[in-house]
């Protein structure tokens, strides 16, 4: 067993865990933070996306012990204009992918604001504008089984600076 401490949505938490427990299972099962969802448990869907120290990661492929001392933000800790924009633009149907979509979009907007290029960027040395094509590429790690992609892109586009 390994003892870890994290800040989760602003609250100090600690837990004794086996090393094999994922950050996703630690959050959902041990800490009762059920916003992040388990879609595939193999890095292929993005439903488990959370922010660690402000960066988006997949909590299903993260061992919780590796994140000892981190600041973790899940959808429960998010208060962002994207949430209302998702509602306005029908950015979801069943809602299962939505916590991951919103955490991912927040991380993505920060990456873009810092000047990061993407695979859709024509000239990688420049600072690309956040077009629809750029949003789609940067959000491609979040699948939506309900196919709400048009609404998701519209919501992000509305909120993006």
């Amino acid at each position: 067993m390994v003892e870890i401490r994290m800040r989760v949505n602003g609250a100090e938490v600690s837990a004794e865990l086996e090393a094999r427990v994922s950050l996703l299972d630690a959050l959902r099962v041990r800490l009762g933070v059920t916003g992040p969802k388990k879609g595939c448990d193999q890095g292929a869907c993005g439903a488990c996306t959370v922010l660690v120290d402000g960066r988006r990661i997949l909590s299903c492929l993260a061992l919780a012990v590796q994140y000892d001392g981190s600041e973790v933000t899940t959808i429960e800790g998010v208060d962002h204009p994207l949430q209302a924009a998702f509602v306005r633009h029908d950015g979801f149907q069943c809602g299962y992918c939505t916590p991951g979509q919103i955490c991912s979009a927040i991380g993505m907007l920060a990456e873009h604001a810092a000047g990061a290029p993407s695979a859709a960027t024509e000239h990688v040395a420049g600072a690309p504008a956040l077009t629809r094509t750029e949003i789609r590429e940067r959000m491609s790690g979040n699948l939506c089984r309900c196919g709400a992609y048009n609404g998701i892109v519209a919501a992000i586009e509305e909120v993006a600076p």
Binding site: V2, E18, A19, R20, S22, D41, Q42, G43, G46, T49, R55, R56, I57, L58, L61, A62, L63, V65, Q66, S104, G107, M108, E111, A114, G115, A116, P117, S118, A119, T121, E122, H123, V124, A125, R136, E137, R138, M139, S140, G141, N142
Partner: protein
Amino acid sequence: MKDFGYRVAVDVAGAVAAVAAEPGARFLGGGTNLVDLMRSGVEHPDTLVDITRLPLDAVDELPDGGLRIGALVRNSDLAAHPAVRRRYPVLAQAVLSGASGQLRNMATVGGNLLQRTRCAYFYDQATACNRREPGSGCGAIGGFTRTHAILGTSPSCLATHPSDMCVALAALDAVVEVESVRGTRRVPLLDLHRLPGDTPHQETVLEPDELVTAVELPAAEVAAVSRYRKVRDRASYAFALVSVAAGLVVRDGAVVAVRLALGGVATKPWRAVEAERVLTGAPATEDSFRAAADAELATAVVQEDNGFKVELARRTIVATLHRLATEGSAA
């Protein structure tokens, strides 16, 4: 997943000593490949030595104008680095074409180098796989081979090397720096991965206790005039069917320097030596590009379902070189 011991390494000496001391111990980078394979039951280490807190996360300038990339630099930070984007655009594009934003934030350079194949039979323990279980056979042979390799295969294994980053590094003559309790050594990227031969389970020339500490990129004019093109089943978030990393310098209509490497088609990151030989000094025309592609692909061996890769690779090589010749760098 079976449980395992977990240790955090705080310095390189401690990390290599910890893995050397215990046969079942393994280095843990971002975990995006290793944790997945452990959960799938393909890998079962006794102990993980977490190396993500080692001070190997910087990108530094080299005196000769090259770059030194620490093994713990995250894939997203590598692709966003201004010097990489300006001087090695093929590398930025290759890294950005892999996985997803979330995964690139986790994945490290060292882990990307040593990620294992995505052959479905390698993952599926109900089928034989020489790579997973030496001598057991190959489930892909006579199976579904659409994603498998056409270059560098053997009767024992047809699996592709999945990394996009490594294809760019193969084109850039990168050198991998490795450290263990026995000291430090440098391995050219092109010598790091082995062809499968009859020992596909021996994937690289590294010993299990050797830690990748850095990747060095030499300075080269051709590196700045470069691009990566990836062809896959969907627009994003999928492994390559075919990918091409290329650099091209043309003067007075003739090719004076060329770099070409292929992904998605070969059992290791594939430097297209034959194609480069044909192209060097030749006129920078589509005819030359086609002749170069044909020369490289002449040794291709196709399976039941992957014959399309020969033509797809040919077209992708020609298109990428043509674009470099007409529009220049992706920087």
